[in-house]
Symmetry: C2
Subunit: 211 residues, 2 copies
DNA sequence: AATTGTGAAACACTTCACAGCC
DNA sequence: GGCTGTGAAGTGTTTCACAATT
């Protein structure tokens, strides 16, 4: 019903997950699906699923459920699965290397197209077919390869400096793997993944539960 | 004031971050710090910081702020930074490899002590001084190396099976990097990091913001 | 004078429960 | 009869605003 209402952050984070599970059901040849069935598979409360879907209008039919193909094409469109997104990777250390090799193969709509590392020669080199340039050429090559957003896997020292350069270039977003709390302009989207924080929080939970 | 009250999940996730920033201030030789100063550095509302700290009792002094050394030792104790935590890594593909090499160096209290991979020989091999065994020896070696929790970086196919074995062994927690939504017993703590989901959500935000 | 610790308000998110439609 | 879509209630989290304290 509300096409232009604000989608809650929590819902946004679940969208890719919905898409993945709907794909699975489609692959199994399922025609229709209820919020209860999705709930069992995803372990998300069925009311939450219905609420999430309802932000995008009436996707289902009362007394029936959801048409799998409908959902699939709706989410594909919504998550822009048709149009590939080009990603730049900044910092090819251990983690950066792993991400290049992983290269989000499962998602054919996102690709790391270019990488930067201070140890790379100016004229460039390659890992797994991905060109790697010296960071001096960031502005030039980011543009040239048509990157829309950057994955930041540099050292803490370089993180804010790189973020500043990215924001000057009007990069649209950063997926930040460094532990630094970056300052970026409003217009730039930022998502943080802090591996140590997650591990520490898990350890805290383990140590402070009764059992 | 409340020592045995329940700490909110949201607060728990911020604890490791607090510890890191307090360490920084201590290293700079700072003696006292206010919630406002921490707020500026961490970009967390000062009231949130005071509320978080208050769950652990009165750590500060009105009109003064917090004593840096006090905070530091309090958080070190609370996050068990004195006692090292031994971690097992299951699945040494691209990501697992990166995590072994990274090995959370910054946090000298957590160490990957043993790893498992189906391509490793039964008698074991090594990467960066970390022993790697065939998964057939998971139960045996998990125990032998005194692991308390596991990082799961296996394929989606193997994920739930490994989680089941870990739960049978009474592993205390799993840091799950696979996209699978694992089913584990109540007693086991689970933390999910799904790289594709984060990237997809970021792209969704970029594509659906007005600018 | 400065800054905490915390009731209370505000906001965000989840879940209940059921009217309405297929 | 089954299942959605959603008001309303419930739960969790953040922020305001200020009395209490050093």
């Amino acid at each position: 019903m509300n096409k232009e209402n604000k989608i809650p952050q929590a819902t946004t984070k679940r969208l890719p997950l919905y898409y993945r599970f709907i794909q699975n059901f489609a692959n199994e040849g399922k025609k229709r699906i209820s919020s209860k069935e999705l709930s069992d598979a995803m372990k998300i409360d069925p009311a939450t699923i219905r609420r999430d879907f309802s932000y995008f209008g009436a996707l289902g039919k009362k007394g029936y459920g959801y048409d799998v193909q409908n959902l699939l094409s709706f989410f594909r469109e919504t998550l822009d699965q048709d149009e590939a997104t080009n990603v730049a990777l900044i910092g090819v250390g251990n983690l950066g290397n792993a991400l290049i090799k992983y290269n989000f193969q499962k998602n054919h709509n996102t690709r790391i197209v270019v990488a930067f590392d201070s140890k790379a020669p100016y004229e460039g080199t390659e890992i797994s077919d991905i060109p790697i340039f010296h960071p001096d050429r960031l502005e030039e090559m980011y543009e040239e390869y048509g990157a829309e957003l950057a994955i930041l896997t540099v050292s803490s020292r370089s993180a804010q400096g790189m973020a500043d350069r990215l924001s000057k270039m009007n990069a649209k977003g950063i997926l930040n793997f460094t532990p630094v709390r970056l300052t970026v302009p409003e217009s730039m989207k930022l998502m943080n993944i802090d591996l140590s924080v997650e591990l520490q929080a898990l350890i805290y939970l383990i140590r402070n539960s009764e059992n």
